[in-house]
Amino acid sequence: MTMGDIITLPVVPLPPPSDWKQEPSQGNSISPFVERKLIPVGPAYLAHVRRVVHDLSFEEHDK
């Protein structure tokens, strides 16, 4: 499993609340990130480094 793989999930939603409506994006951002240290091991770390070193996006790296 790598980051490029598509995870397929079945969803069977029930009807939404009667007053539910589409709202415009509130543009809020997510919580501040936390600082972490990866363990330099495994193919995913190698891929992470390659993207940085070769300056690639995920899609470019997929090719």
Binding site: L14, P17, E35, P40, G42, P43, Y45, L46, V49
Partner: protein, 601 residues
């Protein structure tokens, strides 16, 4: 080096076949035992046995006359030749003499201040040197052989006349070099060709100076060190490399993993976020349990068997500790200690049905020429080891708490280290884990060299990593070198930012009153290093429901905080399975996805 010119490289999963002419291995170098793994043609990592048929190779070197013993044979020498038998040297690498605790036990060659080098630990052993040679004995005794592929003992071979008694002073680094060279030779003998590089495992708590000392000692042994990889990383890599092959587990690619490494003299616990193959510690540093491991289990078993011996023979035997001047007791203890590994292996095997429920401990001439055979059943064994299991679980609980998590949020346990083979430990941990969390015992991969086998997982992980490093290529020389450097200690590439909270989508539902008010599907979990990409295809079945003849589905994107609600009334299972998600005030965006996916499921 690019083999196919302008043609783009293969995908991340299937790198272009660079005919890797390199032969690489993984070495697990513990303070008590080491193991070696090689890569098979099928691409698997496998632990190999050395010339003595041992996969768990004791980190011991013993000097006896002109002989040098390395490994399990050397350990046998602890009975009658303890003063010339060196163990426990790995943990002294990079240490100053003045830093060492002064109350170290002396069941082996004592650690002394080096006679010439200031503030440096050393061992002094008695050896017999070959007859006079042009080289003075003093000089040769200090000399560390540098030549690659020279059997360690060969320098003492073929004496021309009477050998000369001499003292040999070795530093922990010298001993490490001799020992690692013998591992290298075992690997080369097995493979039938020279080894081009190795990944060595190291404790997560090794300081830079210790890493440096190990790297130097390994180089002196003729090993090209591809990486010094921390134990938890080797275990996690090996465990995740195998995840897809385990049909019986439901561990996802994003999970929280507890790595329990129970060795002999110490243990360590690490709580890792595993995020599609990327690993990071959720707490830094990991827990290093300096007083928990197989040795303390052995202490208790020693007392148990010594008491039994006395009961059966009326010969008093005081062990763990034996009085320092009671030679017979000291030797009896050394013999018993050696025998206990077999006893523990039997107990471990009993968990998988291939062994009996009682384990024996047999020692010839234990004391006063009397042989001893005793037995211990699984229940009694677990009773003896219970305090050790309990402290592992307690310390793991602390670690989980320190990460702001709860036991029910641990998805997977990975075991490393010989003492993790003991089924009672898993049973004790399992009580705290949620029902569908997985452990190698649960999946049945711990048994007899299975993929979860704690005695080989570190070496195998190191071998897998060695192959990964050997295959780096495809860029310019400069780029490839930068990629390789990213695996060095303290590389800037390990520094990442990670999400603090889980982001996902919500399908609002009228019927859903509590919780988030709908169906929640987590997308990017908390503790995911960014940039991250997760691609989901949601196959939405809308059934009969439509709005004014149109089938619409609404979904909202939220960031949620995951917590655990502990309720006393209900059976714990219910809460375990549905960690409560609370809305956050920062609502990111709300959108309607009309027919994002086909209505026909």
């Amino acid at each position: 080096m690019s083999l196919n010119g302008q043609v783009p490289n293969g995908s991340a999963q299937a790198p272009i076949e660079i005919p890797s002419l390199q032969t690489v291995i993984g070495i697990n170098f513990g303070n008590s035992f080491a193991s070696i793994a090689v890569l098979t043609k099928e691409g698997l990592a496998e632990c190999i046995a050395n010339e003595d048929g041992e996969r768990q190779i004791a980190c011991a070197i013993s000097f006896h006359g002109e002989e040098t013993y390395i490994g399990n044979e050397a350990k046998q020498q602890l009975v009658k030749n303890s003063a010339n038998t060196i163990i426990g040297f790995r943990n002294l690498l990079g240490k100053k003499f003045s830093e060492l605790p002064k109350d170290r036990s002396t069941s082996s060659a004592p650690v002394i201040q080096h006679p010439e080098v200031p503030d440096t630990p050393a061992y002094k052993v008695q050896v017999l040197l070959p007859a006079p040679s042009p080289l003075s004995p003093a000089a040769s005794s200090l000399q560390t052989p540098r030549t690659n592929n020279t059997p360690a003992a060969s320098q003492f071979a073929t004496p021309r006349s009477e050998p000369i008694p001499a003292e040999r002073v070795l530093t922990p680094a010298d001993v490490t070099t001799l020992f690692l060279r013998s591992l290298l030779q075992s690997a080369e003998a097995f493979l039938g060709k020279p080894v081009d590089g190795a990944v060595l495992t190291v404790p997560g708590w090794f300081a830079p100076v210790q890493l440096e000392a190990l790297r130097e000692a390994a180089s002196a042994a003729g090993i090209r060190v591809l990486q010094l990889l921390e134990d938890a990383g080797a275990a996690a890599l090996c465990a995740s490399a195998n995840v897809s092959t385990i049909a019986t587990t439901d561990v996802g690619p994003d999970r929280t993993q507890l790595v329990v490494d129970l060795g002999a003299s110490s243990s360590s616990l690490s709580l890792l976020a595993v995020r599609q193959g990327l690993f990071h510690h959720l707490t830094q540093p990991a827990h290093h349990l300096e007083d928990v491991g197989g040795d303390v289990i052995d202490d208790r078993l020693l007392k148990f068997f010594a008491k039994d011996f006395t009961k059966k023979t009326s010969v008093p035997l005081k062990v763990a500790p034996a009085a320092s001047d009671a030679v017979a007791d000291l030797r009896a203890e050394a013999r018993l200690r050696l025998a206990l590994l077999h006893t523990k292996r039997t107990v471990a095997a009993s968990s998988v049905g291939s062994g009996s429920s009682t384990a024996t401990c047999a020692v010839e001439s234990l004391k006063d020429g009397l042989d001893y055979t005793g037995s211990i059943n699984r229940m009694r064994f677990d009773m003896e080891a219970a305090p050790i299991y309990a402290s592992v679980v307690a310390r793991a609980g602390e670690l989980i708490q320190r990460a702001g998590l709860d036991w029910v949020q641990v998805d997977e346990v990975v075991y490393a280290g010989g003492s993790s083979c003991l089924p009672g430990l898993d049973a004790t941990l399992a009580v705290r884990l949620r029902k569908n969390a997985t452990t190698p015992f649960f999946t049945g991969t711990v048994a007899g060299g299975g993929i979860g086998d704690p005695t080989t997982i570190l070496a195998r992980g190191a071998a897998l990593q060695a192959r990964l490093l050997a295959e780096i290529g495809g860029g310019t020389a400069v780029e490839d070198e930068r990629v390789r450097k990213a695996f060095e200690h303290e590389s800037e590439h390990v520094e990442v930012k990670a999400t603090a909270r889980t982001i996902g989508v919500l399908f609002p539902e009228a019927a859903e009153s509590g919780g988030l008010g709908g169906q929640w599907i987590g997308g990017i979990q908390a503790e995911t290093a960014v940039p991250a990409r997760r691609t989901y295809a949601l196959e939405v079945d809308l059934g009969e429901y439509d709005v004014g003849g149109e089938k619409l589905v609404g979904l909202e994107v939220w960031e949620v905080k995951e917590g655990v609600k502990v309720e006393k009334v209900k059976p714990p299972k219910d809460e375990d399975e549905a960690p409560e998600s609370e809305d956050e005030d920062e609502e990111e965006e709300v959108e309607v996805a009309e027919r994002t996916i086909s209505k026909e499921v």
